[in-house]
C-alpha cells in the first residue's frame, strides 16, 4: 500500500503547491456563481495548473510536466482531490479527449495547431451522441459528404458537455451508409465558429445548463481536419473514450470520501438530539461508509493492475457501475438525512464535482453518472457478457 519514495516526493510537492495555490475559501467564494463567472474561475485555475505542470502530466515529455507515469498521474489526481481543490471540468475534454486523440491519431499540423492552444485555454467539446444514437452510438446519422476538399455536414448532436462555450468539437459523422454501422464513421475536428453551427444549451433537471445541443446545417469542414482515414473514425473514437484511463474516478472517489466526512459532520452537530441520528440513520451511514471504502480499495487495486499493464476486460465497467450506484445512494442518503434543509433551493458551487453540499442538486446530478458515458445498463451488458461470459443478447 505504501508508495515508493519518488512518488511520495511528488505527492509532497503537489501538496505543498496546492496549499499555496488553491483559491482560499473557493467553495464559499464561488457558491451561486453564474456560468460566466464559473468559466472565468476555471480559466484561472487552468492557467495555474499549466504553469505548475499539473494539467498535462499525461502528455509526452517536452510539454509542461509531461511524461509522467500513470502511477504519478494517479498521485496528482488524488492529491488534488484530497486538497478539495476545484475540478478541471471545463477543460477536461480539451486536456484528455482532444489532446490524447490528436497525439495518437492526429497529423503534425493538427497537433502543432491545437496542443499549444489547449494549454492556453482552447475549449473543446464532444459531438458524439445524437438524439437517436445514445447507448447505440454507432448508429449515428449526422452525414458528411466530401466535395472539393471539404466535408459538408448535416445533422444534430446532443449532450456536448459545455458545448456552448467550446471553440472546437470532436465530431463523429457518417460517411458511408452501407455495411457495418461502425465501418462508416469518420472523425472530424469542427471549428465551432464555422457557418451553419448553432448551439443551444440544455437545461437539466438540476436547473443547470452544463450541456449543449449542436445543430449542423451544411457546415463545411476542410479535409485536413479529418483525424485518421475516412470511415475509420470508430477506432479513433475508442482512443477518445479511453483517454482519461480511469483517472476521473480515482479523483471522484476521493472526493466522495471527503463528502462522507462532511455529511457525518453535518448530521452530528447542531439541532436537538432527536434531530440528530437515530439507530437506522446511523446504520445507513455505516453502510454507505463501507461501500465508499470498498470502492476506494477496489479502485486502488484495479488502478495498480492497470499501471502494471494487467487490466482485465470489464474492470472499467465494474468501477463505473459501482461508483454510479454508490454516488446515487450516497446523495439520496444525504438528501434524506438533511430533511427540509435539503428541500430549500440554496446556492451551490459549480465545478465542485458531484458533491456540492446541496443535497437535492447532488442527488439530481448523480443521474449523470448513471446515464452518461455508457449507462448502467450498458455496463451491465459488458460485465455480464465479457466478465461473467453470459450469452449475448440478439442485436438489431
Amino acid at each position: 500500500m505504501t508508495d515508493d519514495p519518488k512518488l511520495e516526493m511528488l505527492r509532497s510537492e503537489v501538496r505543498s503547491w496546492l496549499s499555496q495555490n488553491v483559491p482560499a475559501n473557493w467553495r464559499e467564494q464561488q457558491a451561486g456563481d453564474n456560468i460566466e463567472a464559473f468559466v472565468a474561475s476555471q480559466r484561472d485555475w487552468l492557467a495555474r495548473l499549466v504553469a505548475a505542470g499539473y494539467a498535462t502530466p499525461h502528455w509526452p515529455q517536452g510539454w509542461p510536466g509531461g511524461g509522467r507515469t500513470l502511477a504519478e498521474q494517479v498521485a496528482i489526481f488524488e492529491e488534488i482531490a484530497r486538497a478539495d481543490a476545484p475540478r478541471m471540468s471545463l477543460f477536461f475534454v480539451s486536456l484528455y479527449h482532444a489532446a490524447m486523440t490528436l497525439l495518437e491519431h492526429g497529423t503534425a499540423a493538427q497537433t502543432s495547431r491545437h496542443l499549444p492552444a489547449i494549454l492556453k485555454g482552447e475549449i473543446w467539446c464532444q459531438g458524439f451522441s445524437e438524439p437517436n444514437a445514445g447507448s447505440d452510438l454507432a448508429s449515428l446519422k449526422t452525414s458528411a459528404v466530401l466535395k472539393d476538399g471539404r466535408y459538408v455536414v448535416n445533422g444534430q448532436k446532443i449532450w456536448s458537455t459545455l458545448g456552448q462555450f467550446a471553440d472546437w468539437c470532436l465530431l463523429l459523422v457518417r460517411t458511408r451508409t452501407s455495411g457495418a454501422k461502425q465501418a462508416g464513421i469518420t472523425f472530424l475536428l469542427l471549428d465551432m465558429r464555422s457557418k451553419g453551427v448553432t448551439s443551444r444549451s440544455i437545461r437539466q433537471i438540476t436547473g443547470d445548463e452544463e450541456f449543449a445541443e449542436l445543430f449542423l446545417d451544411n457546415v463545411e469542414i476542410p479535409v485536413e481536419n479529418r483525424v485518421g482515414a475516412e470511415n475509420e473514425g470508430w477506432r479513433v473514437a475508442q482512443t477518445t473514450l479511453s483517454s482519461e484511463r480511469g483517472l476521473t474516478l480515482v479523483e471522484l472517489t476521493e472526493r466522495l470520501a471527503r463528502s462522507l466526512w462532511r455529511l457525518v459532520g453535518l448530521v452530528t452537530t447542531g439541532g436537538t438530539a432527536t434531530e440528530r441520528l437515530d439507530d437506522e440513520a446511523r446504520r445507513r451511514i455505516v453502510d454507505i461508509a463501507s461501500r465508499i471504502e470498498a470502492l476506494r480499495a477496489m479502485i486502488a487495486t484495479l488502478t495498480a493492475r492497470r499501471i502494471a499493464g494487467q487490466e482485465v476486460p470489464g474492470d472499467a465497467s465494474i468501477i463505473k457501475l459501482a461508483y454510479a450506484r454508490v454516488l446515487r445512494d450516497f446523495s439520496a442518503l444525504g438528501l434524506r438525512l438533511r430533511g427540509m434543509a435539503a428541500q430549500r433551493d440554496t446556492d451551490y458551487v459549480l465545478g465542485a464535482g458531484y458533491e456540492t453540499g446541496n443535497w437535492m442538486f447532488d442527488f439530481m446530478n448523480s443521474y449523470q453518472w448513471n446515464i452518461a458515458g455508457g449507462s448502467n445498463e450498458i455496463q451491465r451488458n459488458i460485465i455480464s457478457e465479457r466478465v461473467l461470459m453470459l450469452p449475448r443478447e440478439r442485436l438489431a
Binding site: V264, A297, N381, L390
Partner: protein, 360 residues
C-alpha cells in the same frame, strides 16, 4: 498434496497455499454430507486430520511456540477456499483463539498453543454475559464446531471480567450436537456446570477486539469464497438452460442482476483485502474495517445465494439441487456470532470519530 505448510520455509506464498487448499478441499469435501434424509451431521474427522496434517493451524502461531510465524494474510486464501468448498470444517475459531492466546502469552495460553501445534487441540469461541471464571455455570447455544472442539475460549460480553479458557473434556461439561438449517456444518450446545475456567492474562477489551476482528475477516472470506462459487454455478446454469429457444442467461432481466451481484462481490472482496492488510499490521481502524468487510461480504453472499435460487427457477427450489446449501450457509454467515445490526452499531463510533477528525 505437496505444498504443505509444514514443509515450506520462512515466507509462504499465499497463492501456493490457495492451490493446495483448493486441491485438498475439492478432494475431501463432500458438500452434501449432512444433507441426507437421516439428518446425521457431517463426519468431520477425516478432514480435520488432513488439515492438522497439512499444518494449517501452525501458520500464524509464532515460531517461539513451534509455529510458522506467518501473518494473517496467509490465512486469507484458506478461509476463502474453505468457503468456496462449503466445507463442514473451518479453522477460523482455533485461529481466532491463537491471535488472542499469543497476546496473552501466559502459561495457560502457552499450554493451549503447544497442543494446537501438536495437532491435539481445537478451540471453539463463545461470548457470554458476565461470568465468574472460577466457577462457570452457564449455557452457550449453537456454537460452531463445539462438538469437535477440545477447548473453549470464553469472552465476556461486557468489558468487565476476564477471558477464560475451558477444557471441554473436563468434568461438568456437556456438549450436545445442535442441528441448524445449515446442515453442512457442525454446531453444538455447551452446558457448563460449576466448571473451573483458567483466566487469560489479557485485557478483555483487547481480546474482544482481536477476536471480533479475526472472526469478522474469517467470515468475510468464507462468504466471499462461497459467494463466488454460487455465482459461478448459477452463471454456468444460465448458459445451458434454454427457454424460448435461447439460453436464459442471454435475457437482460437475468444477466443485469448477475452483473450487479458481480459488482457487489468485487466491492466486498476489495474491502476484505484492505481490512485484512490493516489487521495484519494492526494499522489504524483495523477493528472497524474488519466489521465493515464482514458486513459487505455477508450481504453480497446472501444476495447471490438468494438470486441463485431464482436464476435456477424450479430446480433451484428442490432439496436435490445445491442452491439451498449456499442459501442456508449465507443466512447462517449473516447471523453467526453477531447480527449485521450489532456489527453496524459496534463500528459506527470509530467510523464517525475518524470521519469527523478527517473532515475537520
Amino acid at each position: 498434496v505437496s505444498a504443505t505448510a509444514k514443509q515450506t520455509a520462512d515466507t509462504l506464498d499465499p497463492e501456493e497455499l490457495r492451490d493446495a487448499a483448493r486441491r485438498l478441499l475439492a478432494d475431501q469435501v463432500e458438500r452434501r454430507a449432512g444433507w441426507g434424509k437421516e439428518g446425521a451431521p457431517p463426519d468431520t474427522h477425516a478432514l480435520e486430520a488432513e488439515i492438522a496434517g497439512l499444518g494449517w493451524p501452525l501458520l500464524t502461531i509464532p515460531a517461539s511456540y513451534g509455529g510458522l510465524g506467518q501473518d494473517f494474510l496467509t490465512l486469507v486464501p484458506i478461509y476463502e477456499e474453505i468457503g468456496r468448498s462449503l466445507s463442514p470444517v473451518t479453522i477460523a475459531d482455533t485461529m481466532t483463539a491463537v491471535d488472542v492466546l499469543t497476546v496473552a502469552d501466559d502459561s495457560v495460553a502457552r499450554g493451549v498453543l503447544e497442543r494446537i501445534v501438536e495437532g491435539t487441540a481445537r478451540v471453539a469461541v463463545g461470548f457470554a454475559a458476565s461470568f465468574n471464571s472460577a466457577s462457570l455455570t452457564l449455557g452457550l447455544t449453537t456454537v460452531r464446531g463445539a462438538t469437535g472442539a477440545t477447548d473453549l475460549m470464553l469472552l465476556p460480553e461486557s468489558v468487565e471480567g476476564r477471558v477464560a479458557l475451558v477444557d471441554l473434556r473436563g468434568a461438568g461439561v456437556a456438549v450436545k450436537s445442535a442441528v441448524t438449517w445449515d446442515r453442512g456444518r457442525v454446531f453444538g450446545d455447551i452446558t457448563l456446570n460449576d466448571v473451573k475456567g483458567r483466566p487469560l492474562a489479557i485485557e478483555v477489551r483487547e481480546a474482544t477486539q482481536i477476536a471480533r476482528a479475526h472472526a469478522d475477516l474469517a467470515m468475510a472470506w468464507d462468504s466471499i469464497g462461497a459467494a463466488e462459487q454460487a455465482l459461478t454455478e448459477a452463471v454456468a446454469y444460465m448458459c445451458t438452460r434454454q427457454q424460448f429457444g435461447r439460453p436464459v442467461g442471454s435475457f437482460q432481466a437475468l444477466k443485469h442482476r448477475a452483473a450487479d451481484l458481480k459488482v457487489g462481490l468485487e466491492l466486498a472482496r476489495a474491502l476484505a483485502r484492505r481490512a485484512s492488510d490493516l489487521y495484519a499490521e494492526r494499522a489504524e481502524g483495523w477493528n472497524d474495517c474488519a466489521g465493515q468487510a464482514r458486513l459487505l461480504a455477508v450481504d453480497s453472499f446472501r444476495a447471490i445465494a438468494e438470486e441463485a435460487v431464482q436464476f435456477h427457477g424450479g430446480i433451484g427450489f428442490t432439496w436435490e439441487h445445491d442452491c439451498h446449501l449456499f442459501l442456508k450457509r449465507a443466512l447462517m454467515n449473516e447471523m453467526l456470532g453477531e447480527t449485521p445490526e450489532q456489527i453496524r452499531d459496534r463500528v459506527a463510533g470509530g467510523i464517525f470519530t475518524r470521519a469527523l477528525a478527517r473532515g475537520a
